[in-house]
Amino acid sequence: MSAIPSTTRTWCLYAGGLLVTLLPLAVLSGDLFWVNILIYTYLFAGLAVAWNIIGGFGGQFSLGHGVFFAVGAYMTARLYLGWEISPWLGMIPGALLCATIGPLVFWPTFRLKGSFFAIATLAFNEVGLVMANYLHTVTGGPRGLQIPFKAGLGNMIFADQCIWALIMFGFMALCVAITIVLMRSRLGYYLLAVREDEEAAHAAGIDVTRVKLRDTALSAALASIGGSLFAMYIRTIDPPTLFSLADIGVKFALIALIGGIGTIIGPVLGAFLIIPAESYLRAVMGGGLPGLHLVVMGGVMLLAALFMRRGVAGALDALWRRRSRSAS
């Protein structure tokens, strides 16, 4: 009797779960308003899963992931606009760059604990914003980059929004799959040990710094790919959009937090709760009082923080345990 769930069972479970998230797409595929919301839901689910690797499992509460997202967006757009490099390929250098700068920037920051680390990475996001405004040749400065509509698979530009929904779904599935592989390996266990107690991990033979750097690289690279997809989907990117804390940098963490930090499905659940609710509220209330949807979302998050300390995934887990206990 092993405590490690069997490989086949795990994969079937998660594959089944992910397929369920395709149901709303099947039902709503004719409704552009909802397809657009679904596109963002899959994208942010993937991004929150990517963030969760280092932020949740690794316990390094990064608020700087918006920079990786932005690097991916700029890199892909620039390569496409300047040299007509297909975004499918253009995603790769961005991801590699983030896998390099992520560890480099976080390295000195890892000495900081808890909220100090979060604040330092928040500053990283602000530095990114300043640089994006300044580096005209790459980013187009404050005016940003516009990608003309030229449909084609190689251009990653599509007239049919449902294709985008499937691509974003693929990104989410990729992030989930990578997390599963990681968390079912020694390296994933090491990440947990480092989060729980660095000194104990160190004494148990774990190279704490290396674990953090490696998983930052992975998490940053995935966030960068998310940024690349985002850029090609909206086709117009500028610094205030990419470096927005409320909509990008802090949102990855919030989604994971609401859904259940440090669990594989938590960030996906979080995205399916927050993104549709927020988009809907924005559409419904936006006409009346601008920003009212933010107030409502803030309230929801406050309640979640008060009553679901371990997120939706944690609450469901507790409910499940209580039921199985009363059943037996």
């Binding site: 092993s2 405590a3 490690i4 079912r184 390996s185 020694r186 266990y189 090491y190 947990l192 040990a193 729980e196 107690d197 000194e199 104990a200 991990a201 160190h202 004494a203 148990a204 033979g205 774990i206 190279d207 704490v208």
Partner: protein
């Protein structure tokens, strides 16, 4: 190459500590301490509260760097290596304040040590379970570490250290707070481990335990080594008695 290594193993002491010093802003916590440990020995370190025992351990296993002095394992200088590399070389330790990874289960805690020699998930789990059986925690394998009692936490600390298959096991007051029958069980466990060839260096407050199973005793006071020898002789040395009676009065 191999011959040279063999020669070194023959002539060098297994574990040697030479003139290590650790200062904390004005306070000399470890003051020029030297001693050797031979393969297969059980050595106790005793001394009043604040004598510098835990600080000395931290110098040996790499949590702290000494201001000066040398630590050698099998003749190789190790005092510049970080804790994880010393663990790889065979130093396993427990912490005075147990450090369970509380969100993880008992077996997962133990696997963290076992991965060092068994990188695969299943192999490490198997090894960890064998260790848990050895220390008597097998029936708690799938319980979260946060739910353990004090004595179980101490045993978990030992399991994680044992799982990395150390040559030298360093125990920092693993029996403090245990009831007499738990202490007896612990001593039996460490005797069994010792019989399999493990070398043990332990910090211990309970003189009964020290007398019961250490072959040699080192006494620290105000950071300095004030005595060293076999248990019976040391525990009747006037300087040691004074150091100890001194603490009792202070406490």
């Amino acid at each position: 190459m191999a011959a040279a290594l063999e020669k070194r193993l023959m002539t060098e002491p297994f574990f040697s500590v030479r003139n290590v010093v650790k200062r904390f802003a004005g306070l000399v916590a470890v003051d020029n301490v030297s001693f050797d440990v031979s393969r297969g020995e059980i050595v106790s370190i005793i001394g009043p509260n604040g004598a510098g025992k835990t600080t000395l351990f931290n110098l040996l296993t790499g949590q702290l760097a000494p201001n000066s002095g040398e630590v050698r394992l099998n003749g190789a200088l190790i005092n510049n290596l970080p804790p994880d590399q010393r663990a790889k070389l065979g130093l396993g330790r427990t912490f005075q304040i147990a450090k369970p990874l509380i969100a993880l289960t008992v077996i997962e805690n133990t696997m963290m040590g076992a991965f060092l020699r068994y990188p695969g998930l299943r192999a490490s789990e198997k090894r960890a379970l064998a260790i848990l059986e050895q220390v008597g925690l097998a029936d708690r394998a799938n319980v979260r570490a946060s739910e353990l009692t004090l004595s179980e936490r101490r045993r978990l600390e030992v399991s994680r250290a044992l799982a990395l298959e150390p040559q030298l096991l360093l125990l920092d007051k693993v029996m403090a707070g245990l009831n007499p029958s738990e202490v007896t069980e612990s001593i039996a466990l460490f005797r069994r481990l010792h019989d399999t060839g493990l070398t043990i260096l332990l910090i211990e407050h309970n003189l009964k335990v020290v007398r019961a199973f250490s072959e040699r005793v080192i006494v620290l006071d105000h950071g300095a080594k004030i005595a060293e020898g076999d248990a019976t002789t040391i525990l009747s040395t006037p300087a040691v008695v004074t150091a100890y009676v001194g603490t009792r009065k202070r406490a």
